[in-house]
Amino acid sequence: MNLTVHVWRQKNGKDAGRMVTYQVKGVNEHASFLEMLDVLNEQLVAKGEEAIAFDHDCREGICGMCSLVINGRPHGGHERTTTCQLHMRHFKDGQEIWVEPWRAGAFPVIRDLCVDRRAFDKIIAAGGYISANAGSAPDGNAVPVPKEQADRAMDAAACIGCGACVAACPNGSAMLFVAAKLAHMHMLPQGQPERAKRTEAMVTAMDAAGFGNCSNHYECEAACPKDISRDVIAMMNRDYTKASLGHREEESKAEGAG
């Protein structure tokens, strides 16, 4: 296959950046999208040009490292597919393809197609854990969890933190990510004691990072490679309102003193 690829090139965070057009020749239709970029990079290096920087790691759809907005859709817009699992057979010979980084103020571009997703780490650090001293792993079935609850917790826990939800959202909102992280703990008994505090802390961290607000377009749900449902956002909204209404000032003071 021969392709015309428009790629975002940006030297560093301070550079304004621009779209650059490349011709890629002899792409195997069984190659993944990332392998097509590898081929393009080899052609660029052979010509003495800088290779295009893009994120990738496991290349089997589970690490959450690959990104790329392809033809205006995160991960190329195929259902439950990450960019590394997107194959060139979905494209036509001679097609024009636009490749851009995730676009969000909270995800600044580091170089070309690589963005800094540490804002997600800050949200997790704010409350995405259970702070009980759990000791060694409990015996199987020692903590009873109904199958349906376990399934829903697992569905939410499938989030790989890639950021496609933020990239897809017209408002650059991270609510699907944050809500998934909250839901996977709040579906389980271990998540209950810190439920209100955790929800408040993670939503506050999300707002502080400069993500936008949900306008209920559900572009995030369509873009999610792990098919996470917008139901988790409704759950987060409900929990956050309950946490705010039931917030006790003395609790946070006591905690600060301790």
Binding site: H6, P170, N216, M236, L245
Partner: protein, 228 residues
């Protein structure tokens, strides 16, 4: 009260404000529409209804004050959210392909501003009598303000009909997205009740038909002036 300020400023809290104020205005829109459907009941019924509303000053003024407050809060909150959302994506995509969002959803800010302009026009027209003053202060023979004749005269003018048609269409579009969104925003949306996503589109059709039925009947000469 610090928790309340924090809540209102947060992303989730600001959206709750939009949902609650929006819902209150939707309820008003439904009641207002039902009121105007009484145009089909004739001059006496409509004028009696209008004069009944005007006589309830204990209800009228608190309702007006409440509506203005709700409207202003909705507007201010919307402006703040739109600005924050624009700031969250400083560099736009060269190519962006929406997958699931609707035209109604993506144009909420625009249709909202048109509705704001329309509300001013509508108040100037039927509340303050500034748009067609010649039809505004007519008595109806029972010592009541002849709201019926005012309504008929207004929509016998095709240009006036056109303005209301366009405004009601955009208002319905705005509510198509809003009336489906509020349950999700308040966290009430649940897979057990999948029909909640259809509330907005259904309300859009009901409000558009309900609001445009009396003016359309006037334009088609089904609703006529008394004695005409």
């Amino acid at each position: 009260m610090s928790w309340f300020v924090g809540y209102v400023r947060s992303s989730v809290g600001a959206k709750t404000i939009m949902a609650v104020t929006g819902l209150l205005m939707v309820l008003f829109a439904i009641v207002h529409m039902i009121g105007h459907l009484q145009m089909f009941g004739g001059q006496d019924m409509y004028n009696a209804y209008a004069s009944f509303l005007q006589s309830l000053w204990e209800v009228k003024w608190p309702t007006r004050a409440g509506l203005i407050a709700v409207f202003v809060i909705h507007l201010v909150s919307a402006i703040r959210l739109v600005m924050m959302n624009r700031a969250a994506r400083p560099v736009k995509y060269a190519k962006y392909t929406p997958a699931r969002s609707t035209i109604a959803g993506r144009t909420m800010a625009l249709t909202g501003l048109v509705i704001l302009a329309f509300v001013f026009f509508h108040l100037a027209h039927f509340t303050f009598g500034g748009v067609q003053p010649e039809y505004f202060h007519l008595p109806d023979g029972h010592g009541r303000h002849d709201a019926y004749t005012m309504f008929v005269r207004a929509f016998q003018n095709p240009a006036m009909y056109g303005i209301y048609f366009a405004a009601i269409l955009l208002l319905s579009m705005h509510l198509a997205h809003g009336a489906s969104s509020w349950m999700q925003t308040l966290g009430l949306r649940h897979p057990k009740y999948p029909w909640t996503d259809k509330v907005g589109p259904a309300l859009m059709v009901i409000l558009f038909i309900g609001y445009m039925a009396p003016p359309t009947a006037v334009l088609l000469n089904v609703i006529k002036l008394p004695g005409a």
